[in-house]
């Protein structure tokens, strides 16, 4: 029987390129618990950071000069940035600035929109994701959506569906049990639902549903986890639980989270990318970007001048 809980510290799965173990790329950003000492005060009333400096950070994905247009409208304009395991990357910006499009490009979900065209490259462990079969890629880069959307089946089956081969129903319940339990465990949901695994998932509370969706995304054993405003439909308490969970996950998977909530980005992100009208305005460590932004627009946005 394999252990249900991921041992700590968690192993880094599927590292790029045999032989050359990638070294930590960036020095962990200095963590100041509050916004004092900033050279150009941004006026951002900081929340408490709920995370410490990352223990390591490895480049997993690389967005390279990516542009995405829907028909004639350009939603993302030549954006480049890295995505690192061991860190939480947060995309912020006003509505319609292209953050969700950027996120959906990372596992090729944008391709499902017929009018969308992409240019530039996205690399996953130095391999262009266009060369990876979409279904394979989407198992390595899974996604959680804004609305909690468990499938209308039991809690158990929601996870089992991910574990099974495409549409097949082979693999008995017993065989899948350890993996289902461990996925729920990693999403911090197991204790709450362990007696009700057969209950319909849509009967769970909103926060539990969203954690089930995270468990579902984790069940595929991804390397990158994309979250599209995962807390926007939830109450503050559930938000807190999910934020803690995200921070816990960052050593296991590279986490990219789109959020409208600046406080949330400050609380949980290591790096923050501010996008505006499809452009990447500023990319930097959370503390730097919020407390001493380099760009005028970033300063205005984080101080609440527009949004």
């Amino acid at each position: 029987m394999e252990p249900l809980v991921t041992p700590s510290p968690p192993p880094i799965r599927r590292l790029p390129l045999e032989g050359s173990a990638p070294a930590t790329e960036v020095a962990p950003p200095p963590v100041s618990t509050n916004g004092d000492g900033a050279s150009a005060p941004s006026g951002f009333t900081a929340a408490k950071r709920s995370i410490s400096a990352p223990q390591f950070s490895i480049r997993r994905m690389e967005i390279d000069d990516l542009s995405v247009s829907y028909a004639t409208r350009e939603a993302v304009k030549s954006v480049s940035m890295p995505v690192r395991q061991g860190e939480v990357l947060s995309l912020i910006g006003p509505s319609g600035c292209g953050k969700t499009t950027l996120l959906r490009s990372l596992n090729r979900l944008t391709e499902l929109t017929r009018t969308a065209t992409l240019s530039g490259r996205i690399l996953l462990d130095d391999i262009d994701i266009r060369l990876i079969e979409p279904t394979l890629l989407r198992r390595r880069v899974t996604m959680v959506f804004q609305q909690p959307n468990p499938f209308p089946m039991s809690v158990f089956d929601n996870i089992a569906y991910v574990l099974r081969e495409q549409g097949s129903r082979r693999q008995r319940k017993k065989a899948l049990e350890p993996k289902v339990h461990s996925a729920l465990e990693r999403a911090g949901l197991f204790e709450e639902v362990k007696d009700n695994l057969d209950h319909p998932a849509l009967r769970l509370s909103g926060g539990q549903q969203q954690r089930l969706c995270i468990a579902r995304a984790l069940a595929a054993e991804p390397e990158v986890l994309l979250l599209d405003e995962p807390c926007s439909a939830l109450d503050p308490q559930s938000t807190q639980v999910i934020e803690d969970l995200i921070v816990k996950l960052r050593d296991d998977v590279a986490v990219v989270i789109v959020t409208h909530n600046l406080q949330q980005a400050y609380r949980i992100a290591d790096h923050v990318a501010f996008m505006y009208l499809g452009e990447l305005v500023e990319y930097g460590s959370a503390t730097a970007l919020f407390n001493s932004p380099r760009e005028q627009r970033t300063r205005e946005y984080v101080s609440g001048a527009f949004g």
């Binding site: 979900l109 394979l136 198992r139 996604m143 609305q147 495409q166 849509l202 995304a217 994309l226």
Partner: protein, 332 residues
């Protein structure tokens, strides 16, 4: 200033008691114009009228049916005779109804589901999807007697002779196969519409959630979308079934409307399916005062059985929907 005075219960400000809620939240009609009042009265009157009509039909048939229906009628086939006591029952018609219902829906359901899935989930090229849609609508609009007439052309062709009685090279073209196939066209639009409605009600992000864990489109359709739309699939099937067992024109033209089974050959059950027969609707027609048999009591009895079947289908639709509502759904 002076010593703080004890604050009297605030009548204004943040600590004031909430204003009394109006006791009646429903808008009264006191301020309505005369034309609005008349309109409302007409709506009520019409609603009650339709309820009354429905109740009258059911109650009348219930009384007639319970008076004349004998259980022996359900198991005795019709026979020739001079009085109503000699002519037997309508077991062949009852079984005939079950056969065309089963066969018709067995064809309409898979085809209808396939069409609906293709229209909603694939639908490319768009032109073909539009043509398919209008075709389905056209079929829904064609009177069943016209479908029946068209069916005679198809099923009397030599190539399809194996589906019905053939004598000296002339294809009779009337059989359960022929009738059920054309009846499935009657049910098809209802199945397609219902399944489409079910699929369209599923939010896009649910599909994407399945794609986002590496599932293919076809796996998503099979394991997520169709199971989610199951209530609507069942509804479509039952509405279609109701339409099939209620149809008379196709039975008369394509089933031969004999009062008994007329099997062809000897391989069971193909001999019955290749032969002519009858259904309850046709029996009611023939037994009614305008029909050849003219035995109105049995017509009432058969109509009562038919009505029970349709009511049972409606009740089943209701149960399916209630159960689906209990399972919960997404917040949009």
């Amino acid at each position: 200033m002076g010593a703080p005075v004890a604050t009297p219960p605030a009548s204004t400000g943040p600590t004031a008691a909430p204003p009394k809620q109006p006791t009646k939240a429903v808008e009264g009609s006191a301020t309505w114009q005369l034309s609005d009042r008349i309109g409302l009265a007409i709506c009520w009157a019409l609603g009650l009228l339709f309820c009354a009509i429905a109740v009258a039909i059911v109650v009348y048939l219930l009384i007639q049916g319970l008076t004349y229906l004998k259980l022996s009628m359900l198991v005795t086939p019709a026979t020739a005779g001079f009085s109503q006591s000699q002519t037997g029952g309508f077991s062949d018609a009852l079984i005939g109804t079950l056969i065309v219902g089963t066969m018709g829906i067995a064809i309409a359901l898979p085809v209808g589901i396939a069409i609906a899935v293709w229209l909603v989930e694939y639908g490319r090229p768009a032109g073909l999807a539009r043509i398919t849609e209008s075709t389905i609508e056209a079929i829904a609009g064609i009177p069943s007697i016209v479908l029946a007439l068209f069916g005679t052309v198809i099923f009397s062709s030599t190539a399809l002779g194996f589906l019905s009685r053939t004598t000296e090279g002339i294809v009779f073209g009337r059989s359960f196969f022929a009738a059920s196939t054309m009846l499935s066209l009657v049910a098809l639009p209802l199945v397609v519409a219902s399944v489409r409605e079910g699929l369209n009600a599923i939010p896009q992000h649910v599909r994407e959630a399945s794609y986002a864990v590496g599932k293919t489109k076809i796996a998503t359709v099979r394991r997520i979308l169709l199971p989610t739309a199951r209530p609507q699939v069942a509804t479509g099937a039952m509405l279609g079934l109701g339409r099939i067992i209620g149809d008379t024109a196709i039975i008369v033209v394509l089933l031969g409307a004999t009062q008994n089974f007329a099997p062809v050959g000897s391989t069971f059950p193909l001999n019955y399916l290749r032969g002519a027969g009858t259904t309850l609707t046709n029996f009611v027609y023939e037994a009614s005062p305008t029909g050849n048999l003219n035995q109105p009591q049995k017509a009432y009895a058969a109509a009562f059985v038919l009505l029970l079947m349709v009511l049972a289908l409606n009740a089943a639709v209701d149960v399916v929907h209630r159960r689906a509502r209990k399972a919960g759904t997404w917040s949009h």
